[in-house]
Symmetry: C2
């Protein structure tokens, strides 16, 4: 293996692949990044057995090359070495199949490889059951749902984000059983076979972190894994075992009261009032055309703030809610005004953007008696 | 106590005073910020018995006021409440001498005070033994020395930054016994009585964090404390007990070899080579007109980088040094080129900027045999 490459081309792809390098020390080979130089270009692969990322650097982006070859290099070191390399062409030379000599004009380093035969061989083939998504849309879907996954391993299936596709309709849901966020998107093409799969929350967020706004993403569905393909990158993740709860029946369709309120006003009021709150609890009271956010910490003090609202009828109501869950929900709504749908102090609260019917936020109130 | 004040005026001063709020829970009153409204304005005070900060908001910056009065408010809460307040005029009203009602048009909060009689009465008077320093110069002095203080309590006196003033000469020094940084500044006016005092490292850095570039600072020296006065702020710190070591005799005056090297080149090379280093050790070899930085981690690999230098004679030398201490020293030198003065592999290394004789960095080499 011998090649010369521009620093920025290599670093860009290394930064991406490094996200799949294992940080656990169980299998030494998984702490490595595999370099494969072949006739098609340079292929970089990393896997922690949970996600696998492969990035391709085409021959066009390689300054020159002599011999094909492979080596697994320690991920932590190779990324930092390239990051700090002088901004020049970098030469990689495999020596005795054991180590690489990395050099620029005044700098050189020898880095020992990790046993190549220990590196897992992970299949990253495509199949016919796929959808195509624009990167901005996928990033938005992940932003608007993944925050709501459960962080507790008590019920592993809800630590993931659920993707359900039938024909042209993609429905993405996350819940931790206290709150839920669900987003519906219409696809350009129908899927061959309907899917209902749940992707670990951490994995879908790693994917988000490497998406560019311009990418077009192909998402291939397999029995126990999903492969994302975009911009010379393959990203594969396992899916969670088990059936995702049928959340659609949790969302009420009729409401006693709907109120309209400015998103920014409500967010800022909750943010202020929550400074004096016990166990994340804040009270929301709706009386006439005023919504009051209030909270008390005995010994320290209390606060309240009033906001003007519009209502669809004369019903007054009050309920207690986790302010963290409420601000999480408000953060990802893009409308100027929101509609809050209510059915009494102990019933689920539904929040939607005034002009967006595709994103639904559900919060369970905290019962105070 | 009743006053109305603009949010930004109050927040600016609260942010400063809050740095002296105690984070230990030993004395509840010290977790508070004292508000004193009197005929001269609003005075905010906080102390953790180590540093004391008092900030003055003049009557000109108070929108309106009715009754004078005092209260101690919990520092953690009052700062966050004001930070998150709507950007409006804020009304403070003392109620029953026990709590304040803080309000804007739609928002109000009651915050309970901390027992006023428990709050320590700390003297912040001036005296005649002072110097005047420009804020930029003082910040620079702190930047160029405080990084070198010892973090170990084994020898408390060297956890501080030493200020020595005689006539018009201020000499500021910090050392952890492995490296030393010393800066000399000529003052505008002489001091009345010479001083030799050591300020705790943490305290001098808190001072730095609240200095503006435009301030003119008066620094008053007392037997066991120092008072800094600038821009309606009083900052007082205790000084460390004990005699600061006489460091000037540690700095050699004659050298076998002096080399000149580009600061950026050396910094970048050390930064790169240190990626593969054991126990912070890197080797520097000077041979002919080449300086080589090198390092090895057995099992992982090794690196080296060469830099062109100028020398004052034909002597060749090599030594091992802590790369963290070397980069710390290089970071605070402002010249384009540095001069490294050497006396053999086991002797102190002196580094200065090519054109700056007022800042001296000393590093002890690591003995490898």
């Amino acid at each position: 293996m011998y090649f010369i490459i521009k620093k920025d081309k290599l670093l860009e792809k290394l930064n991406i692949v490094a996200k799949a390098v294992s940080t656990k020390n169980l299998i030494p080979a998984l702490a490595g990044i595999k370099f494969d130089l072949n006739d098609n270009g340079l292929f970089l692969t990393a896997t922690d057995n949970d996600i696998t990322i492969k990035a391709i650097i085409n021959n066009d982006d390689i300054v020159s090359k002599k011999n094909n070859g492979s080596i697994v290099l320690p991920g932590r070191y190779i990324l930092e070495i390239i990051r700090k390399c002088p901004d020049e062409d970098i030469t990689f030379e495999l020596i005795d199949n054991l180590k690489v000599l990395i050099s620029t004009s005044n700098y050189k380093t020898n880095l020992n490889g990790i046993e190549l035969s220990d590196y897992p061989n992970i299949e990253l083939d495509e199949n016919d059951n796929f959808v195509v998504l624009n990167s901005k849309i996928l990033k938005n879907i992940i932003n608007q749902t993944s925050f709501a996954v459960s962080l507790s391993e008590a019920r592993p299936i809800i630590t993931g984000v659920n993707f359900k596709i039938e024909d042209k309709i993609l429905e993405v849901t996350a819940t931790d059983s206290h709150r839920l966020s669900t987003k519906t998107v219409e696809l350009i093409q129908s899927i061959q076979k309907p899917v209902n799969v749940t992707i670990p929350g951490r994995n879908i967020n790693e994917l988000k972190s490497i998406l560019n706004d311009e990418d077009e993403i192909k998402m291939f569905f397999f029995e126990n894994k999903i492969l994302f393909k975009f911009n010379e990158i393959l990203f594969q993740t396992r899916i969670l075992n088990g059936n995702y709860p049928n959340t659609s029946k949790l969302i009420p369709v009729e409401f006693e009261l709907a109120i309209k309120v400015g998103l920014r006003n409500l967010y800022d009021a909750v943010d202020r009032i929550s400074l004096l709150s016990n166990d994340y609890k804040i009270k929301i009271s709706i009386s006439g055309n005023i919504l009051t956010v209030s909270s008390t910490v005995i010994e320290v003090g209390n606060g309240e703030e009033k906001i003007n609202i519009e209502k669809n009828n004369d019903i007054n109501l009050e309920f207690t809610v986790n302010f963290k869950f409420l601000t999480d929900a408000l953060k990802i709504i893009e409308d100027e005004n929101i509609i809050i749908y209510l059915n009494g102090e102990d019933k689920p609260i539904i929040i939607k953007g005034e002009n967006d019917n595709r994103l639904t936020e559900l919060l369970l109130p905290i019962l105070t008696n």
